[in-house]
């Protein structure tokens, strides 16, 4: 299926009119008293609790399974308000599914947004195709070289499909090999969702990263030139497993300082062990870079596991180990990698515990 055809696949939120009619019926019976006719909260409801506004299109980023679980089990199971009751005994499963579908339509442009069901778990090294609103702190440690790298990532959404991103790499201390501490090349990037298909659980994005020469070249903190990296990313769900990938080409502005590179990453996430929202998600990744000028090819396998750290699942931690595979004959020191992320689109970091 072409990207254009995917992009034109609309109506995931509004196409099933029979289901939405049933969902509206359930909503008016069970939800409207607190959440209001417009989904933004009933002003007449006498409560200090202000429910989330379903009209906020940022809520499209949450998977339907989470919405349904909140309706079925109540708020506390997911660290949300205790006044949100459990309706699992009140309605059959199809009506619960219908009311979740109806909730989606309070965002009147929901069809233009990729649904949260395509918001696959972030991996340690492979990029995401889904546009996010997150803060991520990453680290990579190579004990054999005394190397520690930190990276602070800020991602935010603009509109239904666009995401901008800032990356601040940092080497907090000099390496055993004498490379100095400091800030690396800051990366500014943008990403756009080219297409998505909720029923096939797939999403495709393209973006452009621009690495600015902010890092000291002499300390091996940067390339010394601006590097433009257009990329393509995808995510594909296969039942409860996920395949994600990203390919990019690095074009340095000054080819005397840096050379063109091809980068790739492909990853497979296993089904969660335990709860789908808060269970452990093991994953294997293969990341690599190929330099056509000197024909060098580096490749690393990363084995990791991630887990939501709170009930809401918007604070996630991941740890893993990188095992260099290429180039052959070169030293292959093991890497330890980790990240800690906060999906601020879901709410303040202190909620949902």
């Amino acid at each position: 299926m072409s990207f254009l055809a995917l992009a034109l696949l609309t109506g995931w939120a509004t196409s099933n009119t029979a289901q939405l009619a049933k969902g509206k019926e359930v909503y008016e019976m069970a939800c409207i008293a607190c959440h209001g006719a417009d989904g933004a909260g009933n002003p007449a409801w006498e409560s200090e609790v202000r429910p989330v506004s379903f009209a906020d299109c940022g809520t499209t980023a949450e998977p339907s399974a989470l919405w349904k679980s909140v309706v079925v089990n109540g708020g506390p199971k997911h660290g949300l308000s205790e006044v949100m009751p459990a309706f699992g005994e009140a309605f059959p499963p199809d009506e619960l599914t219908a009311v979740v579908a109806y909730l989606r339509t309070f965002c009147t442009t929901a069809d233009r947004y990729p649904p949260g069901d395509l918001n696959f778990r972030r991996l340690i090294a492979t990029g995401k195709a889904f546009p996010e609103a997150e803060v991520v702190l990453k680290t990579k440690i190579i004990p054999a070289e005394g190397e520690t790298e930190l990276e602070f990532v800020y991602e935010n959404r603009l509109g239904p499909r666009f995401q901008y991103e800032l990356e601040f790499p940092l080497r907090p201390r000099a390496t055993d090999e004498g490379y100095g501490a400091g800030v690396g090349d800051i990366v500014v990037s943008g990403k756009y969702v080219l297409g998505f298909n909720p029923s096939r659980l797939q999403i495709f994005s393209a973006g452009l990263e621009v690495a600015l020469p902010t890092g000291n070249e002499g300390k091996a903190l940067g390339s010394g030139t601006t590097v433009f990296s257009p990329y393509f990313a995808f995510g594909k769900g296969i039942r409860s497993s996920i395949i994600q990938g990203k390919v990019a080409v690095e074009f340095p502005a000054d080819t005397n300082r840096a050379s063109k590179n091809y980068r790739y990453a492909i990853a497979y996430s296993f089904p969660p062990i335990g709860s789908s929202r808060t269970g452990y998600v093991p994953a294997v990744e293969l990341i690599g870079a190929y330099n056509p000028k000197n024909k060098s090819h580096s490749q690393t396998a990363v084995i990791g596991v991630s887990k939501a750290l709170n009930k809401l699942g918007h604070v996630i931690g991941s740890i893993g180990m990188g095992i260099p595979l290429r180039p052959s004959g070169a030293p292959k020191p093991k890497e330890f990698r980790a990240y800690l992320l906060w999906d601020f689109g879901d709410g303040p970091i202190w909620t949902g515990w």
Binding site: V26, M29, A30, A33, C34, N42, A44, W45, E46, S47, V49, G74, G75, P76, E82, V83, M84, P85, A86, F87, E89, A90, F91
Partner: protein, 222 residues
């Protein structure tokens, strides 16, 4: 104080009867504004109010009277469910007493959404939505705990109180404040009278086989 040495089943039981009264002026009932839910208003065309002190002829209704002296024996949970109904956007009754493991049936008799939300501190809480008229939810509590509130977050004026006992020796006073606690093994007992908004009162009573021991208590309202 002598607790019976034999299990209840092996003895001829007596009963405890009496009256719980109050002295003083009962506070005015609280007027309830139901304008947030037209269905509740329709169910209460003349307006609604919640009495903080309820009873007739000086008697105090809705007081839980229970034995606090340990009684020897095993007391399986009562199997008969206790009903907490929601009628006209009010709880009926507003005081619930049940035994550990005894079913509590919560029913919505209104044509509007209610949620049953007890807030115990010892037992596990829950919060169940009841959007349909006639819907019933049955739960049990597995630990003794006295007087925790149950409310409806949709209609914040709705309030009832639940007490859970490890034994079956408890009852609730009627509208006139009288009570009758049957099947009590002979012995000398200390009893407690608990009202959701008043301090606990205690009394002593002697129960003889086949006879009723009587205890009357009076709450002083300030």
């Amino acid at each position: 104080m002598g607790a019976p040495l034999l299990p209840v089943q092996a003895q001829a039981a007596g009963r405890i009867t009496g009256k719980i009264s109050f002295k003083g002026v009962a506070p005015e009932p609280i007027k309830i504004r139901m304008s947030a839910d037209p269905r509740c208003m329709k169910a209460n065309p003349g307006g609604a109010e919640r009495k903080q002190i309820d009873g007739t002829n000086g008697g105090l209704a809705g007081v839980i009277v229970s034995i606090t002296t340990p009684v020897k024996g095993n007391f399986p949970a009562k199997t008969a469910p206790v009903l907490l109904d929601q009628v006209g956007c009010m709880y009926t009754p507003t005081t619930i007493a049940l035994q550990v493991g005894q079913p509590l049936t919560m029913r919505n008799s209104d044509e509007t959404l209610h949620n049953i939300h007890p807030r115990p501190t010892v037992n596990a809480g829950f919060n169940v939505g009841q959007p349909r008229k006639g819907m019933e939810t049955v739960k049990t509590f597995d630990k003794p705990e006295t007087f925790f509130p149950v409310g409806c977050d949709v209609h914040p004026w709705m309030r009832a109180y639940i007490a859970v006992f490890a034994h079956p020796f408890f009852t609730i006073t009627k509208d006139d404040g009288t009570f009758d606690l049957p099947d009590v093994p002979p012995g000398e007992y200390e009893i407690e009278a608990q009202h959701p908004t008043l301090k606990i009162m205690t009394g002593k009573v002697v129960v003889k086989a086949g006879a009723a021991g009587t205890v009357d208590l009076t709450f002083n309202l300030k």
